[in-house]
Structures are given as structure tokens and as C-alpha cells.
Symmetry: D2
Subunit: 152 residues, 4 copies
């Protein structure tokens, strides 16, 4: 079926990930076809993405009651390459692929224990103002954290 | 296996329900054993219970930003009597079994299309103060709504 | 932010839907930001898509123990346009946008009560052989059902 | 509100757990009241219980295509003691409290990072025959594994 348009060379693309989060497939996440239900990949994407945002200090701002912004999902895409089954120990990779004025493009890879690519994904997150609902530009610290992976 | 202790006579008990909410089993709610995953019954309980709380006007208070209280779950119990499968058209019955100072005992019945009892359940909901986290007595209107099923 | 590439003119595109399925947002589907969690749209897409596949007779084949094929998700995409909140009565539209040898491109639209577009989506479903895991071409009846919306 | 009837002394009862599984609260598991949604505790119970069944070798039998039995949930109970929030690092304790002919009583405790008890729970799992749907007695190895925590 060919590669999704955000992946030129799967091997190269996969090497560019440096943040990884482990997830074991829960039984309640399987379905009556015996495999991982397709909707669960987005739960994994969100959980790993948020762990990353925590790592670089952004999530703390968004969760703070004093904070004036929250992140919203602009779009999300998942490409399914290999079926996943109950109890597999997966690794979810997170990569910042592009940083806009108030948005960030995140890419995802889901690897199984054999290091096979089971899913790839991407999606844009936008920072909005809690009250107005309008997009709100990254401040310097946030932009730097997204570039460097360090919140200083 | 005998009846749960909150059900004396299953037929009589089932007749006492007067509020019902329909739910069709989603494929994503099944699991690799081919049936409805056990965790989903609590999702159905909550959804039907909240529809009932909306019907009698309580949910609107709790969801209001001006409101000072929210409901929390004190306990929940589900007894599984018949397996449920993908695409079954279920009916969730809701009954107010007891009203306390700041709490309410809700009972649940899940019927399939043949009107067989698939699950029964019960649980206590407590109204708490958003800020203090402590239980907060029902006001007159709420108590009356829970007794009569009408919020006047 | 511009339209997703599978939507040229939003108004025109929305008019092309003819199958709709109603879904009320469950409280358990919201998250701590107060709105519908982004992962739930894919649960809605699947539920509505499967209702459609049932309508045209395909789901029955796939669920049959005698059947030799099941559908798998090749990819899924969701674009989020308006936030959705607890208890909204949504309508999920399903459209067959393209039929391949063994796959079908499904498009999705999620409308709120004001008929505003909250989300759009698309994704490719592939029919595979249960045993080999390889793609399996539609037979005549299935292909006709996907074209006409009637399984004859 | 007093202790649930399956807990005589909370401190003593908590000490009797010896199998623990760590779970970090996902953002998608919170709800619009800002805390962990009540339905998720049963997802945690199942995941930890199944990890335990895997540890003692039972899950492998049930998942095997050659196996003739599967476990079903007879009942489940959760008592909520302390609210849980996004990103808390919880520990789920699993204890075999009683072994019947074809069933087993499992108890659950959910601790937060301060080792406070957030939830307690219990429930009966019954082994049934896949084909007949009737309860099926434990064989010697399974009964021993449930008693000793070792599948030999």
C-alpha cells in the first residue's frame, strides 16, 4: 500500500525518534476480531505525547489552573502496518517534526518487541487561549523546549 | 450462583424500574473473547445514570460553572448474568433505591432484546462540595427530584 | 487552518452524505480539559461505519464464524474543527468515497445540533483473509453493496 | 462511610497483598470533572488481574486456541476512597482471597504515590467451557497456581 506521505524512507524516518514510551496492550483494548482495536492507537499516541510534553515542561503549564492556554488537537492520522495483539509490549516513539507559530507537528511510531513498525502517525497540536478559544503563539520558553526537548 | 444481596426476587425487582435508556453495543467495546468486555457495563451504568440525572434536572446544576457541587461515585457493583455480544440492542434501567442526606443509592438492570437480564448493578453516588471535597446535603429541590423523578 | 486535502468545498462535500447515525456524547468520553477527548472521534467513526456495513449486509459476513474474511483499518484521519462537549447530540455521516479491489475509502462528518461541522475524517478499510492475513478482493455482491448501498 | 464488608481492617487488609502492578493515569481516562473517571478503575482491575494470571500461567491457557476454557467475570465491586487525578503513578495490588471449584475471588487495592488507598475492590472470576458456556472446575495445576502463585 505504499508509505504514508509524511514518511519518505521508513528506516530513516524511524531512526529520527529519540523519545520513547513503553505501553503493554490491555485486554480491554482488544476487540472481537482478536486484535488491538483500531481506536486504541490514538489513546497510545495521546498518552505518549503527553508524557513527552511533561518531560519538556509544557504539560505542567497547560494543567495549571493559573495557566491561560490548553492544547487542542487539530488533526490526527494513523497508518496501520502490522496487527497488534493482546499483551504485546509496545514502544511508542514521539518526534517533533515541525514547529509553527502556535502549533506543533508531532509524529508517532509504534514498534513491537521485534522492533517491527506496527503503526505510524502524525498530527498537529495547537495551543489555544482557554477563554477565547483562539490560537495562542508559543512563548520563548515553550518554543525553545519544543526545539531542544529541554524546558529551561 | 444465587442472586446479589440487593435483589430479593429478580422478577419483582426488575418490575420496579421505570426509567430506561437504550444502548447498542459498539464493536470497540467487545474484547478478544468475542463478547462485551466486563469494564464496559460501568460505562453504560454511568451514561444511563447521567441521562436520568439530566431528566430530573440535577446534572445541569452539577455541570454549571456557577454550581458549587459535583457528584462522586462512592461505590459501584455489577453482577454479570448473561454474556452480551456485539451489536445487541440493550436497555439500561435506572432506579433510585434509597436517598441519604447527601447521597443516593442507584440500582441498574441491563436487559437484552429478549428482555433477559444480562447484568444487574448498584452503587452509591455522593454529592460533594467542589472546593472542600466534603459531602454536601441535598437541597429541597434536589431531594424532591430524586424522590419524585421530577425537578420542580 | 484550511481544509483537509480530501475536502474541496466543505458545504458541497457535506451534502454528499446520505447515511447518518446519531450519537450522544457520554460523560466518560470527556476529559479534564472539559471537552470531548480527541481519541473518541475514532470510536464514533468505527461505530457509525459498522452500522453502515451492517445496513448493507457486509458486517454480517465478517462476523460470521463461517466467513473467511475480516475488515482491517489501513489508515484513519480526523480533522477537528469545533470543540464538542458533554451531552451534545451528534450526527455521524458515512460516505463511501472510493472502492478498490479489496479496499474501500470511507469519509466521515460529525455534525452538532446546529448542523455545524465539528470533525471530518477519512480512512481506508481493507478486507483480509482471516488465515493468511492477506488482502482479499471484494466479491460481486460486496462490491455492488458498497456502490449502491444495497446488498442484494 | 465505613469500610466495605470485604475489608475488616484496612491497614491489615492492605498488608496482605503481594502482587503489584504499576499504572500511570492517562489523560483520556480523566473526565470533565477533572479527575479519573469512575469507570476506569475496572480497566485497571482487569489489566492488573490479567498480568497476575499471566504471571501464574493461567492466562496463557485461556488465550490458547487449543484451550477449551475462558474466564468470565461473575461480579465486580469498587469502593472509591480518594480521588485520583491525571498523571498519578498508581500501584494496583492483586490478592487471591478465596478459591472455589471453578471460581476465584480476587481483591484489589489501588495506592497512590503517598501509599494512600484510593480504591479497593473485589470480584469473582469463573472459568467456563468455551462451547457450553458452563462453569468448568479448575484442574490441579490451575488450583495449585492460584493457591501458591506459582504454576508448576
Amino acid at each position: 500500500m505504499g508509505l504514508p506521505n509524511y514518511v519518505k524512507d521508513l528506516e530513516e524516518w524511524t531512526k529520527e525518534f529519540s523519545y520513547f514510551y513503553p505501553i503493554t496492550v490491555r485486554f480491554s483494548e482488544t476487540d472481537a476480531f482478536g486484535h488491538l482495536n483500531n481506536t486504541t492507537s490514538f489513546v497510545y499516541f495521546e498518552h505518549a505525547r503527553i508524557q513527552y510534553f511533561k518531560e519538556i515542561g509544557l504539560m505542567q503549564q497547560w494543567m495549571s489552573q493559573k495557566g491561560s492556554t490548553i492544547p487542542v488537537t487539530a488533526d490526527l492520522h494513523c497508518d496501520y502496518m502490522n496487527q497488534v495483539f493482546f499483551d504485546e509490549a509496545l514502544t511508542i516513539g514521539i518526534k517533533v517534526a515541525d514547529i509553527g507559530r502556535s502549533s506543533v507537528e508531532i509524529q508517532y511510531v509504534v514498534l513491537n518487541e521485534k522492533e517491527e513498525v506496527c503503526m505510524t502517525g502524525r498530527g498537529r497540536i495547537v495551543q489555544i487561549d482557554k477563554k477565547t478559544g483562539k490560537s495562542k503563539a508559543w512563548d520563548d520558553r515553550a518554543a525553545k523546549a519544543l526545539v531542544s526537548g529541554n524546558f529551561v
